[in-house]
Symmetry: C2
Subunit: 117 residues, 2 copies
């Protein structure tokens, strides 16, 4: 992931509603969620969720596909994964020990940590 993309991704994730939406989309999995369902789950208006979904899409963190009447949004796993790698690579450059606590817990097979709501 390039710096430009990372900057966009960070900006996208720095907004409460968008962060919530990303979580919802990730939890929805590859099947994704229609915009209306996202709006309801996030507790915001339809036009507002549309605005934030567009922002997430432009930042490369989500993608849209039409399915019948609904437009279904999906989290871009590669982008999220790439952002994590960016943090590890570019920000911890020369000091891998910074990332060790994170990778250590992630690399263990203790998946309880991952299921925290």
């Amino acid at each position: 992931m390039e710096e430009r993309q990372a900057l966009s991704a960070f900006a996208a994730l720095s907004q409460e509603t968008r962060l919530r939406i990303v979580r919802l989309l990730v939890q929805a999995g590859p099947a994704g969620m229609p915009a209306g369902a996202v709006a309801e789950a996030a507790g915001v208006s339809a036009s507002n969720v549309s605005f934030h979904l567009k922002e997430l899409t432009q930042a490369g963190l989500a993608s849209a596909k039409r399915e019948a009447r609904s437009i279904v949004y999906t989290a871009d796993y590669d982008a999220l994964s790439g952002l994590i790698q960016f943090l590890m690579r570019d920000c911890c450059a020369g000091h891998p020990d910074i990332c060790m606590p994170a990778t250590a817990s992630a690399c263990t097979s203790d998946s309880k940590e991952l299921s925290r709501a």
Copy 2:
């Protein structure tokens, strides 16, 4: 790391100069860097670097300590590590496969990846 902190951290990292400063501080290691040196290395004015260092400090990503005439800034390793964990835990919740590519490369001992400028 709580959501509030993560939102602040994302906002702090979504600005080009601040992202550059974080890189500089990380590379500087535990010894840190005085504000003036950061300004010079980042190629920005003293007042501008002061502003951004304050933002980073308030976001918990850096800390300041006075050393003689200079105020030396240090990257907060725990915060960076915590942010990576936050992404893995809260954003990849229920879908650890998202993080796998990231953790896989991070967990290998191939440190060439980490030294990219």
